[in-house]
Assembly symmetry: C2
Amino acid sequence: MIVLRLALAQVNYTVGDLPGNADIVVARTAEAAAAGAQLVMFPEMMLTGYPVEDLVLRPGFRDASRAALDALAGALADAGLGDTAVVVGYVDDDGVPRNASAFLLGGQVKARYFKHHLPNYGVFDERRYFVPGRSLTVVRHLGVDIALTVCEDLWQDGGPFTVAGAAGVGLVLNINSSPYERNKDDIRLPLLVRRAAEAGAPIAYVNSVAGQDELVFDGDSMVVAADGTLLTRVQQFVEGVFVVDVPVVEATDPAPEVVDEVMTVTRVATSVPEPPPADPQPAPVAPRLPDEAEVWNALVVGLRDYVGKNGFRSVVLGVSGGIDSAVVAAVAADALGGENVYGVSMPSAYSTEHSRSDAEDLVRRIEAHYRSIPMKSVIDEFVGMLSLTGVAEENVQARVRGTTLMALSNTEGHLVLATGNKSELAVGYATIYDAGSIGGFSPLKDVPKTLVWALARWRNAQAEADGETPPIPPNSITKPPSAELRPDQLDSDSLPDYEVLDAILARYVDGDRGVAQIIAEGFDAELVRKVARMVDTAEWKRRQYPPGTKISYKAFGRDRRLPITNRWRENG
Amino acid sequence: MIVLRLALAQVNYTVGDLPGNADIVVARTAEAAAAGAQLVMFPEMMLTGYPVEDLVLRPGFRDASRAALDALAGALADAGLGDTAVVVGYVDDDGVPRNASAFLLGGQVKARYFKHHLPNYGVFDERRYFVPGRSLTVVRHLGVDIALTVCEDLWQDGGPFTVAGAAGVGLVLNINSSPYERNKDDIRLPLLVRRAAEAGAPIAYVNSVAGQDELVFDGDSMVVAADGTLLTRVQQFVEGVFVVDVPVVEATDPAPEVVDEVMTVTRVATSVPEPPPADPQPAPVAPRLPDEAEVWNALVVGLRDYVGKNGFRSVVLGVSGGIDSAVVAAVAADALGGENVYGVSMPSAYSTEHSRSDAEDLVRRIEAHYRSIPMKSVIDEFVGMLSLTGVAEENVQARVRGTTLMALSNTEGHLVLATGNKSELAVGYATIYDAGSIGGFSPLKDVPKTLVWALARWRNAQAEADGETPPIPPNSITKPPSAELRPDQLDSDSLPDYEVLDAILARYVDGDRGVAQIIAEGFDAELVRKVARMVDTAEWKRRQYPPGTKISYKAFGRDRRLPITNRWRENG
C-alpha cells in the first residue's frame, strides 16, 4: 500500500474567463501543496467553465482553451508548483472537439484523456459538441497507476471503469461539473461504490461549486475506497481545497494487457518514484444537508453567480408583501448582502394595506433599501387612454410595475429580479412582462409554491436558532396568496389549493405521467384534465421568463423542451 | 423496367394534432388515388408533426402515435383506399423511441423502418430522443424492391443508401421534414444524385410545407433517376399532391444477400404482383425561386402557421413608418389578409410627421386596420413619476408602446407581432419589452437589416409587375433608419452602416469566424472588435425575444445556443 495525499479542489469558475480560471488553479494548487498534497484535482472544464454550449463550435475558442492549458502548465512551474501533479478539465481539439482532462507536472502536459460517455439528455447536449474518446489514459506516478475519467463516465455502464478494472489501476480520478438537483446527492455515493468495485480501486470524485445561467453545481466531492468505504465527503456548496490521504495499491510490472471491444488503454509514466511510507490521516465526512438547506444554498449560489458574473452588484425587485417576493429578497440578501438589494413597493388602487406594511417589514428585516412608488396615476392614464376593463385592466397594472422596475434598472444599474414561481409558470397563471416575469433572472422559476413556503419557514427557523432576525415576515407566510389586481382577488379563485396543484404538477411535469395515470392515483379527474390543459398551453409564457436556478429533475428551460405550437392534449 | 406512378404529398401538418394529421393523409391519398398513383409518400413524422421535441419523452405520446398509425391504416381501407400503398412518418416505440416510417396497405401496417442517421447539430436534437435503427427495410410491392429511409439517412455517408445498393433495390423512398434555410435547395439535388448512384436506384424525396415555431419547411420535393436525371421537382412552399411516373428495375430472385457491419436488411413482401406495362408520362420540373422570393415565402408560411396553429386569426403590431414594421405588416397581410392585420401608430414627442404619414400610407396600401394612439400623456406621467432622463427616458417611451400592444391583444384577441430584425438583435441595439421585441412572434428575428430592405424592394417590384399596389411605402425604404426616441436620433449614431455591420455579422455569427480572421479580410479592426463585443454581451436580450422564422444557417434560438453568463472575448 502507498498513501497518496490528494487535494479535492471544490472551486468556482466563470464560463469563458480562461485566464481568470487558470489563476484559480494556480492559487488553489499552492494552497494544496502547502497542505502537503501530491496531486490536486480540479472540476470538469475548469479552464473554460461549464457548460460553454456553442462556444465549442468556434475554432478560436477551442484554440484558446488548448493554449490556456499549456500556459497553465508553465504558470504552475513558474510558481514553484511543478512537483505537484494537477488534473484539470478543459476543451481539447485533436481534429475533433473533446471534453478533456489533462495531467500537468513539471511545467508540462504529461497526459490527456478524452471523455468517453457523453450525456445528451436532460440539461446535457454533449453529443452536439464532442466526439467520445476511445482510450483510457493511465498515468504511472508515485508508483501508482492512476486512471483519468470525466463525469458521465461514472453514470453509464461499460467503458472507462470496466477498462480501469481490467488494466489493474490503483486509483481512478473522476472530475465533474455535475449540476445540482434535489436528491441527486443520494444517488452519487451508491454509484461511486458500485464503480469502485468495478474498477477494483478507490475513486476520487471532485465537483465544482458554481452558478452558470440556469445551472448550479453543488460540489459534494468525495473519495471512496475500493471496498466502498467513504473516506471523505465535502459539504455541498462550500468552496475550498480539501485534503485526503488515500491508501492505494502500487503498480505492478508488467501491467495487465487489456483487450476490450470499445476502448484501448494509453499508458504514460512520469518517472516520479514511490513516496516513502506514511500513515493515512483521517479526513472529515460532512453531514448531509436537509432538503430545504440544499435548495436554499442552490438558490443563493445561483443568484450570486448570475449577478456577479454578469457584472452587476445589486438587484431591484418589486416587493408586494407576498411570499414569493419575500423569499426572492431574502435569497438575494443572503447572496449579495441586504445593502445590495433594492425593494420597491408599487401599490395600485387594489393593493391592501397589509401588502404595503408586510413589504416594508420584509425590507427592514433583511436591511435592504426600500421605496414606495404609487402606480395609480400612470395606471389611470393608461386605462383611460385605452378604455381598458377586465383582464386587460388587470394586466396593465401589472405591466406598469414591470416597466417601472426596468426604468429603475436603467437609471441605477441594478439587475431586475423576477419573482414568479414554478407553479404559476407551469399553468400560465402569470402576466407576462410584469414584476413577476420581467428582468434578468427569476430565482423561483423552478421552485413550486409549496416549496416557497417551506423554504421561508426553514430560513426563519434557522435564523431563530442562530439568534438572528428571521428574514421573512410571518404574515407573508400565513396570508392567502393574491395577485391584488382586482378587489378581493385570491389565487384560489383561479387555481386549486397549491398542495393539490403541486402534487399534480410533480406527476405531470416532472414525472411525464399521463392524465389517466394521475387520475388513477386518486386525483379529481376534471381537475387533472384542467391542469394538464393549462400546462400544455402555457409554453409561450414559459419561454418569455428570464433564466432561473434549476433545482428539480425537470426545470422549465434547458430540461423540458416543448413546442409552443402544439395541439397535443392527453385525454384521461 | 416497371413504371410506378408515385404521388409526392408535399403537405402541412400540426404538431400534436394526430387525428387532424391522419385526416390529411386520408384526404390526400384519395386525391393521389384518383390521379392513378400506386404509392403515396408523406413527410417524416407526418402523423405527429415535426419537431415534437420533448413530447417524445412522454410514454403517453408515443403510445398515441402508434395507435394513430393503426387507426390510419384502418381509415384508409374504410375509405376504399386499401389498394394504394401509403408511406408515412410517425413516432414508434419498440422498447425505445424511434423516428419511424410505415408502409400501409390493405388496412394494415405491412412494414416499419427506423431512421438510422439521427441529426444532432444545428436545430436538431434527435440523439436526445431516438435510438437509431439498425436494419434497412425493403418492401417488395408491385414487383419492385422498395427501400424505406428517413431524411438524415440521405445527408450522412454510409448506412441505408450503401446498404440499399448492396441489396439491389429498385427504388428508395426518402421522407423528410427538412427545415428551410437560404441556399439549402442548392445542396439537396446534388446530394440526391450522389445517393442515387450509391443506391443504383431512383430516389423519391418528399418534404413538408409547414411552419412550426422557429422552423419552416419548404417542400422542394423531387425524384431523381439512378443516373441522376431529375424526373420532377415541386415548387417550394406550395402544398399539394404531385404525381410522377418512375421507371424502376424489377426485383430479382433470389434477392442479393447483404453483409454489412452496421445494418442488416429486413425484407417484406406484399404479394401484390407487377403492374401491366405503361409508358411513363413526363412530370413538371419547377423553376427555382429567386432568393428574395424564397425568403418572403418562408416568412409568410412561418407567420401564417404560427398564428393559425396557435388559435389566433389576427395580429396587431406597432407601425412606426420605418422599414421593419412595414415589412412585417406586408408579410402579415400576405399571410392572413390585410383585414386581419391591425396597425397601431403610437407617436411620442420625438416622432416625426413622416413617421405618422408613412405608417398610415403602409396600412392603406395593404388594406389593414389603422389607428393612432398618442403616447405623450402616459409617457409624461411615467417620466414624471420616476424623474427619468437619458436612456431610461428613451426606454420608457419604447416600453409604453409594448404595454399598449399587449393591452390591445388582451382586449381584442390579436396576436402581437414584434418588429425587431436580426442585425439589431445581434448587437443588442434594442429596448427589451418594446414594440420591437414584445409579443408572440417576431417575423424578422432572423432577417438582417440589409435583407429587410431587399425584401421590401423585391415585394414592391413583384407587385408592380403584377399590376398591383406595392405594399411598402417607398419613403419607408429610402429614409435613414431611426428609433425616434430622442430628437434627430439615427441608427447611424450608434451603429456602423448596415452594409458593413451585416457583412461582419455574417462572418462572426453565421460563420463562427474569429475576430482576427475577419480583420484579415480587410474590415476595420476597431469596428470588428466593437461589433464582436456587442454580439458577445447581448445574449440575454436575444433570449427575451419571441420566436421568429429561421431563414439562415445560424438563427438565434434553436441554432446558436450560447451562455448568457460568458466572459469569452476574442481579441483580434
